[in-house]
Symmetry: C2
Subunit: 310 residues, 2 copies
Amino acid sequence: MAKYGYGVDVGGTTVKMGLFTTDGTLLDKWAIDTDVSLGGRNIPGDIGRSILADMNKHSFDKGDYLGIGIGIPGQIFPDGTANAVNLGWDHLPLVSELQDMTGLRVTGGNDANMAALGEYWMGTGKGYKSLVLVTLGTGVGGGIILDGKCLDGAHGAGGEIGHINVNPGETRVCGCGNRGCLEQYASATGNARLALDALASSNKPSTLRSCPKIDAKVCWDAAKAGDELAMEIADKFCDYLARGLATVANTVDPEVILLGGGVSHTGQPLIDRVTKYYVNYAFPACRKTPILLASLSNDAGIYGAMAALL
Amino acid sequence: MAKYGYGVDVGGTTVKMGLFTTDGTLLDKWAIDTDVSLGGRNIPGDIGRSILADMNKHSFDKGDYLGIGIGIPGQIFPDGTANAVNLGWDHLPLVSELQDMTGLRVTGGNDANMAALGEYWMGTGKGYKSLVLVTLGTGVGGGIILDGKCLDGAHGAGGEIGHINVNPGETRVCGCGNRGCLEQYASATGNARLALDALASSNKPSTLRSCPKIDAKVCWDAAKAGDELAMEIADKFCDYLARGLATVANTVDPEVILLGGGVSHTGQPLIDRVTKYYVNYAFPACRKTPILLASLSNDAGIYGAMAALL
């Protein structure tokens, strides 16, 4: 019976990799640079070589490996080809190339879905039957796990929570082309924009006014320190986020909602504030759905990719 | 091998019942009154007696029956008890009572989910792998089918699409206690309210001003006839509905979205108008998701209850 497997998380700047036991122990992890030249054509070969080198380091039988799980910032189609706009991939034969190089089985999917699967397998979501992971980073990503399986969706858009409309009155355009998407407010960039708007439209004194650079961290630090304007910004951020979370809860009704990504490092003050607003939008049956911090941080993707092999 | 089954749809005024073949032919259908006296205590017995009488009419072996599928306006728990506020049920032992009376296997779930399963099995959704059914009636109900299974949710709130927030600025309270729920606009009652608001806040002439009673049908008839104010009301209705549909698409990404319920009898003009607004809110990958009319009308529930047995 196979005892080991590789979890791979392809990002725009680095490819994270981990060697796992099938019961969830991370034995080793490392990263290589993502080579986005030539339409990302070299990435599968780079990953394959890195894994072959790791296999050579160990004395395991080939039969001891379950395979390679891989998460990408895009979509893997049933035929094993992959699309990822940021990497330049357009139906790149990812699965067959990696399989041919390593002789291992390859499976995977969207990185946000893999991260959700990782939290489900070995993170805060362990023991729950269903969960939603919302990743508050540069953008807002999402992954939905129901009965242990990723909700990929018919067009790979399952869990695209960042593009739920939470503000029909918005005039500014989101990266997706729509207006009023959750990502425009509840991401790190959205948080900064909310802050700049608040600073411009109010005369309230605030420690933020003397900050050389407004980002999510300085906003939350100021809010934690009791800065009134920063608290108003945090309230706005959490009100928008709560609308998005409640919408997802009213639709898929998970056992638990997890928050991950850079902004979630704010910790419990974020959870407390968003939970306060969440009850205003959630259907009665979902009002007590716990909102918790994800726990695997940047490793969620490699954990989930490994879990996809199981 | 079993060849027949019963589909039962418990409503607030009547209980609809159908005798089906396992390949989807509705052989016979009928209805009995819903007795809501005594906390709905007599309903299981009434259903059981009606089914026993139908079984007596036929010469089928007991082994020819797959069982009884049942949809209720509430939730059936894993232990077979059922809650339904409108019927007065609070952990009523529905499954065991029906099983004991008839000797048949009993299974089921929420009526909106059953209706979605019905459309998936034998309605417009036939041939699709996943769908969302949104029912535009007195309220707005919803059911989500993924890979042939109902998304029930951890607290029975899967597909509670009517309570997605589509208007954060709303001051009026929805039946669920929140403000700005889809149901407050895109239901028959919501449609009438949008019309009354428009008539009160505008001086525009309109054929609606001489209507003795404003309801969804007169609004849509006037819009179809080219009444300008009625068209504005239809636009508002469809804009709100589109926000809700796009939100669900961005979350579960179904292959197709179906509209059912009384307001859907408006037909293609509703579909065309809501599709126009839908693209403003849908994530690019879901912008072409077809929005279609459901086809089983009031029989969707009994079809789905039967399908739950398969």
